[in-house]
């Protein structure tokens, strides 16, 4: 019994490591998208794209998390991506101002 618990916890730790890696890979992608959006003069917040992302992940969800739970989790991931893009934009603006 105790050994099972240890094993499962180890598995969670490994999965968490993968999650952090994947989340960061996703964030790096979002940052790159943010840079392209700025170059093309597009707004950071694009609700239709966010809806598309949620539809997409729902299509791949086989549980045990239900669709609402997936939605809430991805909403948080998207919130953080938006935050990251905003910070990157500020940094770029500041750097531009300094140059000028």
């Amino acid at each position: 019994m105790k050994a099972d618990l240890e094993d499962l916890r180890k598995r969670i730790d490994l999965l968490d490591e993968s999650l952090v890696r994947l989340l960061n890979a996703r964030a790096a992608c979002a940052l790159e998208i943010g840079r392209l959006k700025r170059e093309m003069g597009m707004p950071i917040y694009q609700p239709e794209r966010e809806a598309e992302v949620l539809r997409h992940v729902h299509g791949h969800n086989n549980g045990p998390l239900d669709q609402d739970a997936i939605k809430r989790l991805f909403e948080r991931i998207i919130d953080e991506a938006r935050h990251l893009e905003r910070i990157a934009e500020e940094v770029q603006l500041n750097a531009q101002q300094k140059k000028e």
Binding site: I44, P47, D68, K71, E75, I78, D79, R86
Partner: protein, 349 residues
């Protein structure tokens, strides 16, 4: 800030609100529930109007988490502000008592009142030279002559002088006589006056308007602070409620509330707070027990013949008795009041 959407608000309505929040500079945390969505907005500036969001379709309510004032808030400055005027420290351990007549009426009256309040332990002389009254036909004050008389009496008795400034044109003149500017309840939202007092290098006491919320009152203090004057104290003087037995309802709870929200000293005015002489002492005792940093009390040598506010002015003997009681109450909450020994003399009352 938290924006609560209505039950069954559409996705489009939620997206609209998110777009507005982002435009205002906030980071948005969306939380979708079974029935309704709640949006948490963090960052951004303090200067926004929640009404801009409340009018959007699908929004049920908007709650601000940060205060709209900054310099006046405890989160900006955690230590209590202590205002020092020579040897008088307002906002420290000692409860500072300001006392004197409502208005300066004559040299003799001011002298008698100043001598009486000094003997009882007051540190600051109060008294008005320009009196804004509810009726334009009531006594309107002695003007500059009154200021001269008040300052002379204060100097003779080693008291500081607090007096009311009513408009911009008086700042320069009153500034030559006063140690503390008082902004009256009726002027609490005279923002041009407050802004100008922000440039003054004399402490300012902002009285609470009769229908002002604590937030509005702190925003008034913020005007003075934002102008560059750090020496601001607040004064609770009663608010208008449905009760008519007393002139105003003295809001003692405002004292601890403001002390939690702000670092500024809080003075209590039980005279205007109740408008009745026999209620002044109980409310003064309660205010000190509640933690007020000071009191401002009307004391008149002959209140029955006072030209203004006689009904709420204490007799010198009553003030003396009150001070003796306060000297027992203050130590119970770790404060002191009038440290030097006071000469005991009879007033013949």
């Amino acid at each position: 800030m938290v924006v609560v959407m209505r039950e069954r608000a559409t996705d489009e309505q939620v997206q609209n609100v998110i777009a507005k929040l982002i435009e205002m500079g906030f980071d948005v945390h969306r939380s979708t529930g079974a029935l309704r969505t709640v949006l948490g907005a963090v960052g951004g500036s303090r200067q926004f109007d929640t009404a801009l969001l409340e009018v959007l379709d699908g929004v049920q309510e908007v709650h601000r988490i940060t205060e709209p004032y900054k310099l006046a808030s405890r989160s900006f400055k955690s230590d209590n502000t202590v205002i020092t005027i020579d040897d008088v420290r307002i906002g420290g351990d000692e409860v500072i008592v300001m006392a004197g007549p409502c208005s300066a009426e004559s040299e003799e009256q001011v002298e008698a009142s100043a001598a009486a309040v000094k003997r009882a332990g007051a540190k600051v002389l109060r008294g008005g030279a320009f009196k804004p009254r509810s009726s334009p036909y009531s006594f309107q004050g002695m003007g500059e002559e009154g200021l001269r008389i008040l300052r002379a009496a204060a100097d003779r008795h080693n008291l500081k002088l607090i007096t009311e400034v009513m408009d911009l044109s008086q700042i320069e003149l009153i500034g030559r006589y006063a140690h503390i500017f008082q902004v009256g309840a009726r002027n609490m939202q005279n923002f041009t006056l407050l802004r100008e007092l922000g440039k003054a290098r004399i402490p300012v006491m902002v009285k609470r308007g009769i229908s002002a919320t604590i937030e509005e009152w702190l925003l008034s203090a913020e005007y003075v602070l934002a102008g560059g004057n750090p020496d601001v104290m607040l004064c609770e003087r009663g608010i208008r409620t449905f009760e008519t037995t007393t002139r105003n309802t003295f809001d003692i709870s405002a004292i601890p509330v403001v002390q939690q929200l702000s670092h500024l000293p809080v003075i209590a005015d039980p005279s205007h707070g109740t408008g009745r002489r026999d209620k002044v002492a109980p409310m003064a005792r309660a205010a000190v027990a509640a933690g007020a940093d000071g009191l401002i009390i009307e004391v008149h040598n002959d209140p029955d013949h006072a030209l203004s506010d006689g009904a709420q002015s204490l007799l010198p003997s009553q003030f003396d008795r009150l001070m003796a009681e306060l000297r027992i109450i203050a130590p119970a909450i770790g404060r002191s009041i009038c440290l030097e020994p006071v000469a005991r003399r009879g007033w013949g009352v």
